[in-house]
Symmetry: C2
Subunit: 344 residues, 2 copies
DNA sequence: TAAACCAGTTGTAACGTTTCACAATTCGCG
DNA sequence: CGCGAATTGTGAAACGTTACAACTGGTTTA
């Protein structure tokens, strides 16, 4: 076949546009656009014809054009923390999110949210330049300035963790109070008499939930308890371990530890080992976990599972429903702890 | 001041565009566009005036408009694996990437790359719909079909891991051969006489590098060695542990384990514990690690550190240079192991 | 019989940017 | 002085989409 550089329509396999579909079906571009969005003003038969042609041609709407025209970005952004109490938190959350979002046309972008820097700056930039349709973030504070700003401007978001604002907003959370209570009850059932807890930094909402669950459960049972004053969950693992070691060597050390996450649990275990304590004998632990890592730790310890992947996909689902105009007050979800006690 | 709904220019604080800057400076939109991209055709003084005005007005180019016009998305996409041999791999890599990309105007999007599904489909979609300017992925195979397709179409990418294609392409890798050799040498130095290794699946390039380093170092030293045949690094942790346990109970079990990653190391440790073996006494381990988790494991074991965050930022850097038109052959980087041997 | 209505469809404009082709000025230099 | 070339700038078009207003032709309504 001789080359026909100009006459042949498929000289360069250009990406099909609405124009392509319009030419193929004989309808106008506007009609095609409407047909593809299932606009009831377009006859059913037309919609079907157009849909079939679009499928055959492999038409996919151009994101840039749509975004320019509508202002909607089709992008959901996650504020990414460098550190977390769980190993594998980020991977699980992101996988949950993108699982729930596949096939929806939305894509997930991440932006680093460095501790110690201005956490608001990145949010500001996203709002000002309309870089996303909605925002996800974790480690929510009681009066989180991000939540305040987003609510003021009406920008959609789903937080991991509740706030204490009176205006409702979408969130997904884990029942940390129930976790702390369950952990305390388990340690008491194993005969422990002096319980210890290491908390995250005070500003996070879930810190208060943990504290409340721990303290109230201990008080109700009339059992001795303490909250480690020198370190937080965000302290370097070495410092956490050192704090536990020091306390172990002082008078009347705890014999039951509630550990909020894997780093704390492993640090506590190492401190126990370093001071000659045997887990299960001299002290017991209950740890919140998000990964299967504790299956490989010997001796086995009691754990409570927080499903971060489900958290991620729920956050995505709520965001979509929020973008769909649903009432934010209805878009909340509290996950309950699922306990995994060892025998004996 | 009385309200002047129509005359006042700042009735609605609309996002500044090129138009805004043009009106403010008295130049034409075209001129402003050129001035902002430092086009030499525009007088130096004009460029400065325009830049100052743009800064004052808080002008930021609209991504959608630019993308529609130029076809460039300003987006770099990471193919996200659900599983990895390291705990925290994803978080570290993504943080490295976004660290290196901050301030460049590029954003990072992630897309889940489910094992067991067609790994090419997602790449196809990204290419066909021009969803990104470049791609990052991990777990590279010797003749990785993704690499093949991307090279054929000339689409920019940086792989984590080398390939065996003759055409050069940008990659970042860790010297797994050197790691395996170092691990073998260390175990021999500790008096071990029968070494064992669990490999990732055969198709990955780094599997071959590990195998080569392990086998050749053992042969050179004339030491007994074996590669666990029943499981791979991607087997469930429970299966890995079971395989190690079974081997421990059979004749002439290994006394030195090279562990490629944290999951393998912890599984091996648990299997050792379950079969009455004491690490450091009955057997030794050398583990590759990416997180500080081994600082908390007792007894302490020898580790080799792979810096995943640096890997991420290097991948980003190479991608930018590739997009800048640099020769792909020059855009490679091999990280060397850094050993962390315990005393004694 | 004309006006009003309806379902179904269409043309035009606009989103904000870059780029093409050209225009207005100034300059070098014989 | 005058001509071509450089310097500096401009208007218009285009990227692909959707919103808006308007147009058809047929049917109902007053």
């Amino acid at each position: 076949m001789p080359p026909s550089p100009d006459s042949s329509p498929d000289v360069k396999a250009r990406k099909p546009t609405l124009r392509t579909v319009a030419d193929a079906t004989g309808f106008a571009v506007t009609t095609v656009s409407r047909a593809l969005s299932d606009d009831p003003r377009i006859a059913k038969s037309t919609r079907e014809t157009v849909a079939a042609a679009a499928r055959k041609l492999g038409y996919v709407p151009d994101r840039a054009a749509r975004r320019l025209r509508t202002g909607r970005t089709q992008v959901l952004t996650v504020l990414l923390n460098a550190e977390h109490e769980f190993l594998g938190f980020t991977a699980e959350l992101l996988n949950g999110l993108s699982d729930a979002l596949r096939g929806t046309g939305y894509s997930v972008t991440i932006v680093a949210d460095r501790i110690g820097e201005d956490r608001m700056e990145v949010v500001d930039t996203i709002l000002r330049n309309r870089l996303a349709d909605a925002l996800f973030f974790t480690r929510t504070e009681a009066f989180d300035p991000r939540v305040r700003l987003l609510m003021e401007t009406g920008f959609p978001f789903v937080s991991h963790g509740r706030t204490e604002f009176t205006t409702p907003h979408p969130w997904v959370d884990f029942d940390n109070t129930a976790f702390a209570r369950a952990a305390v009850e388990r340690l008491i059932a194993r005969g422990r008499t002096r319980l210890s807890l290491i908390l995250p930094e005070d500003r996070f909402t879930f810190t208060q939930h943990l504290r409340y669950g721990f303290v109230s459960a201990c008080r109700e049972a009339g059992i001795a308890h303490e909250i480690e004053p020198r370190v937080t969950l965000d302290s370097p693992a070495a410092e956490i371990a050192e704090a536990v070691r020091r306390r172990r060597r002082s008078a009347d050390p705890p014999d039951g530890y509630v550990c909020v996450g894997e780093v704390a649990a492993l640090s506590t275990l190492s401190a126990l080992a370093d001071t000659g304590g045997r887990p299960g004998v001299d002290a017991d632990l209950v740890a919140k976990r998000a990964s299967p890592i504790f299956d490989m730790i010997r001796p086995r310890i009691d754990t409570v599972f927080e499903d971060i992947r489900a958290t991620g996909s729920t956050m995505a689902e709520l965001a979509l429903r929020r973008l769909d105009g649903e009432d934010p007050a209805a878009l909340t979800r509290l996950f309950s702890p699922s306990c995994d006690w060892q025998q004996g």
